[in-house]
């Protein structure tokens, strides 16, 4: 989104662009995982029997059984940025994932990137150093982030611990607006993988058995690059007129807001929409919204916008698919200061 410029409080909402699934993924990514009883825990069990024999009460204990909790190996990879907007020839574009040890013991994982996948329009090209840790926790790939080298700094994660990892790709020059490219991060347990239930005798923490859990000891997920070369300019201006004919922003004064929107590059901004929440202690002048000098009713109806008061009072104007050829779109509306 780095190429969108906006000023004032107006914001361009690019309605998820082409990929509705990207929005859904955001809603379900915060799933929690229980790890369970720590590896090596010993559970003893002894039954007690009470009874009377010839009128004498007696209490007995059984032998004690011992259960040792083995290591369950499980790992989950969760995308943190399911979709990243890119342009042709971009380099070192990162996708962020979280690798979580959902087993019950400490485990070392190797990491791998795969960018030749089905279901997309182009193959991103893994960078020379394709995997980094988000060492500084910024969520963005920065100079402080440590590169990953298999066999050298494989992450060691305690039960329920996680690490944030970037996979980094370059974008080919041949892509066009709207193309998608998938890239996948895989985390693999170094103790072993296999069908759930596979046993690695003695390979768990402290020499207990390690058993592969439901994830098979391997987790992976994909992130998506979406080519979007569109640059949008959004500028908001205001003019105040007070009841005395001056320009003092006092109660009773009217503010006229003018928002201009323009695509300044090649490409199409699909389903563009401006949502501008009103400042507090102001009221919209009824039916004052216009788009390119044509009136838009305040009601929520079939026209290009409305005054939406279901949440915070907001002026909404739908611009639809915009290209450079559409030129400047001008939205004007008036509010009074309460």
């Amino acid at each position: 989104m780095g190429k969108t410029r906006a000023s004032g409080s107006a914001a361009v909402r690019r309605r998820c662009w082409h990929i509705a699934a990207g929005c859904l993924a955001l809603l379900v990514s915060a799933e929690a995982f229980a790890v369970g009883t720590p590896v090596g825990t010993v559970i003893q069990n002894t039954a007690t029997v009470d009874f009377d024999l010839a009128g004498t009460p007696i209490t007995l204990q059984s032998n004690t059984t011992i259960v040792t909790v083995a290591e369950r190996i499980d790992v989950v990879v969760t995308p943190q940025s399911p979709q990243t907007l890119v342009a042709a020839n971009d380099t070192n574009r990162a996708l962020l994932f979280t690798v979580t040890n959902t087993g019950n013991g400490s485990e070392t994982f190797s990491l791998a990137i795969e960018s030749v996948l089905a279901g997309d329009d182009f193959d991103p090209v893994p960078s020379v150093t394709p995997i980094y840790f988000d060492t500084d926790g910024s969520g963005d790939l920065t100079v402080g982030d440590q590169p990953y080298t298999a066999g050298n700094n494989d992450p060691v994660l305690a039960a329920d611990a996680s690490v944030d990892v970037f996979i980094v790709n370059d974008i080919p020059g041949t892509v066009v607006n709207g193309n998608t490219g998938l890239s996948q991060l895989t985390a693999t347990s170094l103790t072993g993988t296999g069908t759930p239930g596979t046993e690695y005798a003695g390979d768990g923490d402290g020499g207990v058995d390690a058993i592969i859990g439901t994830t098979g000891g391997e987790g992976s997920d994909t992130g998506e690059y979406l080519v979007s070369d569109v640059v949008i300019s959004v500028i908001k201006a205001q003019a105040v007129s007070d009841p005395q004919g001056g320009t003092q922003p006092e109660p009773g004064a009217t503010i006229t807001y003018t928002i201009t929107v323009e695509v300044t590059s090649a490409g199409t901004a699909t389903a563009s929409e401006i949502r501008d929440p009103l400042p507090t202690f102001t009221s919209l002048v009824a039916n004052s919204i216009t788009l390119n000098a044509a009136g838009i009713s305040d009601a929520i109806d079939a026209d290009a916008g409305e005054y939406d008061t279901t949440g915070a009072a907001t002026v909404v104007v739908r611009l639809g698919d915009l290209t450079q050829a559409d030129g400047v779109q001008t939205i004007i509306f008036e509010v009074t200061i309460d």
Partner: protein, 168 residues
């Protein structure tokens, strides 16, 4: 050696020696004229060539979270008198979640405790109060199970009590 044990018959002693000889791990206690033994097992599901699914209990001493742990308690009256008012009590360790409906014991009334074994009642009669709110007790609240024999355990007779729990 306890006072009670001194009173046992030679036959009882012999049976203990025989049991010990049969299996070094089959640790049995007889001081009160009842032989009580508990074993821990896991379920093994196998599918044969014809697609038949078979679940059997096999020995188990290591478990992973999510796995089912099956405890079986056997008790035999090795005295020559009937044992009266026989009650088997077994704690449910904090790492274990009782599997609803899994408690089994022919000829017994099965009761549960939610207070560390101080009081017992049938599962549908128990409640738990948390933060001033009282609700029916669930499997996760049970701390102990007990099996109350409805009749005497005759000399030479054996009983069994079993339950399952999920390792959390």
């Amino acid at each position: 050696m306890s006072d009670e044990r001194k009173g046992t018959t030679m036959r009882t002693l012999l049976s203990v020696i025989l049991l010990a000889a049969l299996s070094a791990s089959a640790y049995a206690q007889d001081e009160g004229h009842l032989n009580v033994r508990t074993v821990v097992q896991k379920e093994q599901v196998t599918v044969n060539e014809t697609g038949e699914v078979k679940t059997e209990l096999v020995a188990g001493d290591t478990f992973v979270p999510g796995e089912k742990v099956v405890y079986t308690i056997t008790f035999r009256n090795i005295s020559e008198e009937p044992a009266e008012n026989v009650v088997i009590t077994n704690p449910i360790s904090g790492e274990l979640m009782y599997v609803d409906g899994s408690a089994f014991g022919p000829g017994t009334d099965i009761q549960f405790s939610v207070d560390g074994g101080q009081t017992f009642a049938n599962s549908n009669e128990l409640t738990v109060t948390e933060g001033g709110v009282t609700r029916p007790a669930g499997a996760g609240d049970f701390t102990h199970i007990r099996w109350v024999m409805q009749q005497d355990l005759a000399a030479g007779a054996q009983g069994v009590a079993r339950f399952s729990a999920i390792l959390e």
